[in-house]
């Protein structure tokens, strides 16, 4: 049975800091709240759903599609909006079977791989096996990591355009292709979460540009981190142009889908480590804040979309700036990191920020705990974060 729009109301209540009838549930609404394809397949089996290969909707993390029947079985309240293209630059079409560690899954036709001498699986940008591979899954691994392809660059003559190749105005066909999935997502009665791409500033997962055949500019992760300190004018020039392009895209997307989207996932740049941060709050305010604020301001002025920010780790120190920039939602609320005690977070920010996550400890309890510990670990943190706000994944 498909859910009524009680699901969407539930999510909107939580997003508006009103008391929902229960904590809304998200499995698979965004690329940062997704579930691995092997888990999706296992859940289908657990619920006795039709046996069929699960589609991979995000090849980097090997995330499996939560289809309607599984979403209903799980009581999911959020539905994602499938993207037209993967990070690896190929389109989600012409699905074919692929064997992943003994499990039959479905991948796009241009998901083309080879296996190297160590048994590692290599994945190619835009499905072009004549280009250098851009993703590697170690033998027996669960997902792909970016292969760093750093071309030589002259530090004295860096051109920001080189780091902007992947941030371009969306082609008309991409804009046109967004409207139908939004309508389909709305028809589920669930809240609609979308990611339109191009709004992640310096997301370290995206810096290597796995979708480009021959990326230029700064693509090495260490070089990028160094540049955040030593080449700030260059980083500003990239972010400024990226922001301008993203605003143009958002305006065109909004013209096509209106307020059919409830939540827009904007950026996954991680600012936290386990015990500290990747930069100071002052650096955040100088380097990221103006661009986040420009996007969130436009969204709030012109749409009913809520702005979703992801950052792992110890990030409480950034919350005031996140709120000031206009983010409505923070994910994943890594309660195991330093300074992320759920009760304190709720007391300090609960009226101003929606906690989308904060469930079970994914570093200790989920992978190493017993079933009882997993059952107990999530709800304990959720109780602390709840009280009229808080979404679980």
């Amino acid at each position: 049975m498909a859910p009524s729009d009680a699901s969407r109301r539930r999510v909107l209540d939580a997003l508006s800091h009103r008391e929902p009838d229960r904590i809304p549930v998200d499995f698979g609404g965004t690329s940062v709240t997704g579930i691995h394809v092997s888990v999706a397949a296992g859940l289908r089996e657990h619920f006795g759903l039709e046996r069929r290969p699960v589609k991979i909707h995000e090849p980097m993390q090997m995330l499996g599609m939560v289809d309607e029947d599984l979403a209903t079985a799980l009581g999911v309240d959020v539905t994602g909006m499938p993207r037209r293209k993967a990070h690896f630059g190929f389109t989600f079409e012409n699905w074919k079977e692929w064997e992943f560690n003994g499990l039959e899954v479905l991948v796009p036709g241009n998901f083309r791989t080879t296996t190297d001498e160590n048994g590692d699986v290599l994945l190619y940008p835009q499905g072009d096996t004549s280009a250098a591979p851009s993703g590697r899954m170690p033998k027996g691994g669960y997902f792909f990591d970016a292969i760093i392809r750093q071309n030589h660059f002259d530090p004295e003559h860096l051109d920001p355009a080189d780091n902007l190749e992947e941030f371009q105005p969306l082609p008309e066909e991409d804009i046109a292709a967004i409207a139908q999935p939004v309508r389909a997502a709305q028809a589920t009665g669930r809240a609609v979460a979308a990611s339109f791409g191009g709004t992640g500033f310096g997301d370290i997962a995206a810096v290597p540009a796995v979708g480009l055949k021959d990326p230029r500019g700064i693509r090495d992760v260490t070089e990028w981190y160094v540049s955040l300190r030593s080449r700030r004018p260059y980083i500003h020039a990239i972010f400024e142009k990226q922001c301008e392009t993203a605003l143009g895209n958002l305006k065109r997307i909004h013209a096509a889908v209106g307020n059919g989207v409830d939540v827009v996932y904007l950026c996954g740049t991680d600012f936290g480590t386990q015990t500290s941060a990747f930069c100071s709050v002052a650096t955040f305010r100088e380097l990221w804040f103006p661009y986040y604020k420009a996007l969130c301001d436009w969204i709030h002025a012109n749409t009913s979309w809520k702005c979703f920010k992801h950052s792992c780790g110890s990030v409480e120190r950034f919350f005031e700036a996140f709120i000031e920039a206009g983010f409505d939602i923070i994910n994943p609320v890594q309660c195991s990191a330093a300074g992320m005690e759920p009760r304190a977070l709720k007391a300090k920010y609960g009226e101003r920020l929606v906690f989308w996550g904060g469930g079970v400890d994914t570093q200790q309890t989920l992978p190493f705990g017993t079933a009882a510990q997993v059952r107990g670990g999530g709800p304990a943190a959720l109780r602390d974060l709840r009280a009229r706000r808080g979404l679980r994944f």
Binding site: R136, P138, K139, G140, G141, Y142, D145, V221, T222, Y225, V226, L228, R229, S230, T273, Q274, T275, S276, A277, F278, C279, S280, T283, T362, Q363, Q364, L366, P367, F368
Partner: protein
């Protein structure tokens, strides 16, 4: 004679060009490599570590200082080898099998080098047999294992088991680290030490070889 305090400042400020230039001038003026390391570079990296611990420095600053320090060390290393000077310890470091993440590991390696350790960096996705071969070849007294993923943490345990099987476990101290790794996990798998950041890893290594 160059102003050697500039070497300290260059490492502290992550200025590789100046660090290399001052090192070249100092060597040309007859300053001994050990003096440069002991009196300027190690103190500078110690200061970098303490600034990191008190959150004045973050990952980018750490990387820049490490880069400056390495620029100088590249000039000094051949001279040190020729002089037969003993390092603070010999460390073999790598990210365990199945894990391709190396930034944290690289930071620890750099901080250890900056503290006067001889560091053999095996890279990422390192099988146990490679650690074993490097321990034997480099006569290491510390092995540092890194893992970023919960799914690769078990490879730390199997690596330590392999060290035992190969009969080299007693020759080395094993230290572990990485985002999901904890003190409790380190104890469970029989590691000798755990550190939750690159700066503290230096203190741990010093303690382990003392």
């Amino acid at each position: 004679m160059p102003e050697l305090q500039k070497l300290y400042d260059a490492v502290l400020n992550g200025d590789q060009k100046t660090a290399v230039a001052v090192t070249q001038e100092a060597l040309a003026a007859g300053v001994s490599p050990m003096e440069l390391i002991t009196n300027y570079m190690v103190p500078a990296m110690d200061k970098v570590g303490s600034l990191f611990e008190c959150e004045e420095y973050f990952v980018p600053e750490l990387l820049l200082s490490a880069r400056a320090m390495k620029g100088s060390l590249e000039l000094l290393r051949p001279l040190l080898a020729a002089s037969g000077a003993e390092p603070a310890g010999r460390v073999v470091i790598g990210t365990v099998k199945g894990d391709l993440h190396d930034i944290g590991k690289n930071l620890v390696a750099s901080m250890l080098e900056g503290a006067g350790f001889e560091v053999t960096d095996l890279g990422a996705d390192v099988p146990a047999e490679k650690f074993i071969a490097a321990i034997e070849e480099k006569k290491a007294n510390v092995v540092a294992l890194s893992a970023l993923l919960t799914v690769t943490m078990p490879a730390m345990r199997t690596t330590i088991e392999a060290l035992k099987q190969a009969g080299v476990r007693e020759k080395v101290k094993v230290m572990v680290g990485g985002a999901p790794v904890t003190q409790q996990f380190a104890e469970e798998i029989g590691a000798d030490g755990y550190s939750d950041n690159a700066s503290a890893a230096v203190g741990l290594a010093r303690k382990l070889v003392a």
